[in-house]
Amino acid sequence: MDRRRFLAAATGLAAGSMAGCGGCGGSKDTRPVLKILSSFPRTGSAQGQTDTIVNGIKMAIEDFGGEVAGHRIDYVDADDATASSGKWEAAAEAKNARDAVADDDVMVFIGPYNSGAAKVSMPILNEGGVLQISPAATWPGLTKKQPGDTTGEPEVYRPAKRVTFCRVCPTDDVQGPLSADFVKETLTAKKVYILHDNELYGDGIAGLFEARCRAIGLEILGGGRRPIVHTQTSFREITEQVRALNPDMVYFGGTTQTAAGKLVKDLRASRVTCPVMVPDGCYEQAFLDSASAQDLANVYATIGGTDPSMLKGKGKEFVEKYKAKYTKEPEAYAVYGYEAAAVFLAAAKKVGRKDREAILKACLETKDFEGGVVGKWSFDADGDTTLQQLTISKVEGGKFVPQKTVDKK
């Protein structure tokens, strides 16, 4: 009983000192605080990608000298995953969003990584009037009504009837269709087989890819896109079917976390040697590690925007600085972590005071932003970036080698 009372007192004390005494007390820093809270899956299998995003955010804060307009920038790196599940959890994402709303110092919520998680945090932050910038959630329905949608997207995420969510990464409605064009024109495929992982992102992007394939006259084998159950130990019964249908290429809408590497392996084991294409959910080192270099030899991966190795000017400087600081290559989403933090900090600087509403407005009105590392872009009325590009890379010798960058027409 004693120990429990002591613990309660101690946590109460700690909480009190945190809430009531931001910046005063022991610390000599008396500047007021602006807080950035980010929410990503920081434990589990997406950690490689989210580490790099967090590094990008930290570098943006450093580039601003850790302050804007006399306000110290505090950064809270929150986790929306649990160790036991190894991926994002709705409860954790919702808690992070509520924490952000409840803390008056928090000016921006950067995140999440997964589109499914965005569905959870968006309404909470929208109602709380907190600016949300995602560097990685790419499901188009989060911001724009999709053809054939019956779920009321995106209005269901905007209970306050206004836009508070924006994103700095290109969306899947760029990725899916442009991938299909590439498959027809560059890979000269005629018959394709489409698989997906049955999740919001994977099924979504596979659907967009499939629709474009139909529109440009590619034959879809097996009657339409087919799901895999990614927790299964083997996909051989599916890959044998793929082989029997003899496609010119195979598309998989899914992520490294939903067994993309294992699927490629099983395809190769079934002697399906045609090109395989995967979306940005696999554009990471973890995917390259999940299968052997031989199995990945004829695999293409796409990423919204450009590969870090292709950046010029400020982007190139960023990549070099990143390598020097963290002694490894930035993953594809590092630049969007930087971009998200930079566009917020620029808006906060313009406003010059601690005002959620004013910063939110200033950020969403961003036009021709050049303060980041990916080039010049603006937010459109829905909060999407105008920079809608796609890079297609091929895996060669265990690395992504960019083949082509295309703009949305």
Binding site: A83, R236, I238, S292, A293, Q294, E396
Partner: protein, 327 residues
């Protein structure tokens, strides 16, 4: 939803049956560990699947230690040494771990109500999973394809493995053969061991009536430890075969395989060795054929639907009622 087959439907069916049989044998190998332990102490050892997972990780560690990291080492002395070494190390490791867990966790609960060791087993399963998570991280890890054809040019597409059924329209590689050559003799040896050795007899006696067995001078504790060791060793053998066959390991792999193996044991009649083998093969076939002709999203539901139907008509499993002894 039935898939369309461009080529030969009969050959495709034959191929699915082959894949189902081979994966079924793997499930059976894991199922034996469940069934043996249940037969003796009536404990469903839920940690068995995760023990198998740790065996896979140890095998991978052996590969890295010997220097067999990629398919380029397939067939080289390093590759062969790695396979030989892991076939010794993984069963020993799993057996020792299983016995240690029995000593530390299940033995003190031997006389407790049945639920206590059961819940403890679930706890051990989570502990093992946590160990696996810290050992190899959360992503899929590649296991070198040491039984595939040797790769000389890493940039080129992998060479085609030799087909042992060439000309029949079916494919059966050395890897498939390896699964058969390891699992079937292991199961035969186990059956003979339980039937004809002194320890095997002691096991059967303990399974039938532990008190009576003790009165006959059988050291029940030693028999139980031996059962855990044997079950663990089987998980170890299974982990080596599985890793070399599928070439992907993951800290969560124990759960899925454990559930299938456990279902195989129940389907065949838990406590019954030939039953576990039969159950494993059935599950492998249902999963593969169901996945191919109905849709892989339904294969799990199909497996458990069949389990329910079988249990309605044969509550003791397919072979459970026929044999009175439990091992």
């Amino acid at each position: 939803m039935t898939p369309l087959f461009a080529a030969d439907p009969a050959a495709a069916f034959g191929q699915f049956v082959l894949i189902g049989l081979v994966s079924g044998l793997l499930y059976a190998l894991i199922a034996l560990g469940y069934t043996m332990v249940y037969g003796i102490v009536e404990l469903i050892n839920f940690a068995h699947g995760d023990l198998f997972m740790l065996g896979c990780f140890l095998s991978l560690e052996v590969c890295l230690l010997v220097g067999a990291r990629t398919q380029s080492e397939a067939g080289t002395p390093a590759g062969l040494a790695a396979v030989a070494l892991m076939l010794v190390a993984a069963p020993l490791f799993c057996a020792a771990l299983n016995v240690a867990v029995d000593r530390a966790v299940y033995k003190p609960l031997r006389t407790a109500p049945k639920l206590a060791p059961l819940v403890s087993a679930i706890g051990v399963s989570f502990v093992f999973m946590g160990v696996g998570l810290f050992w190899k991280g959360a992503t899929d890890v590649t296991f070198p394809d040491l039984l595939g054809p040797r790769v000389t040019d890493p940039a080129a597409a992998p060479p085609e493995p030799a087909n042992l059924l060439d000309g029949t329209g079916l494919r059966f590689t050395f890897k498939d053969l390896m699964v058969v050559l390891v699992t079937l003799p292991t199961m035969a040896a186990l059956t003979l061991f339980v039937r004809y050795t002194t320890l095997g007899k002691a096991m059967r006696a303990t399974a039938q009536n532990p008190t009576a067995a003790q009165l006959m001078g059988i050291n029940v504790d030693r028999v139980i430890a031996a059962t855990f060791a044997l079950g663990g060793a089987l998980a170890g053998v299974g982990s080596v075969v599985y890793s070399l066959y599928f070439n992907t390991v993951n800290y969560q792999m124990g759960f899925q395989n454990g559930v299938y193996a456990f279902t195989a044991a129940v389907l065949g009649g838990i406590g019954n060795i030939p039953g576990a083998v039969l159950g494993g093969i059935m599950i492998g076939l249902v999963k593969t054929l169901g996945g191919a002709y109905i849709g892989s999203e339904w294969s799990e539901a199909l497996i458990f639907a069949i389990l329910v139907v079988v249990l309605i008509f044969r509550p003791n499993g397919l072979l459970g009622a026929r044999t009175r002894e439990k091992v």
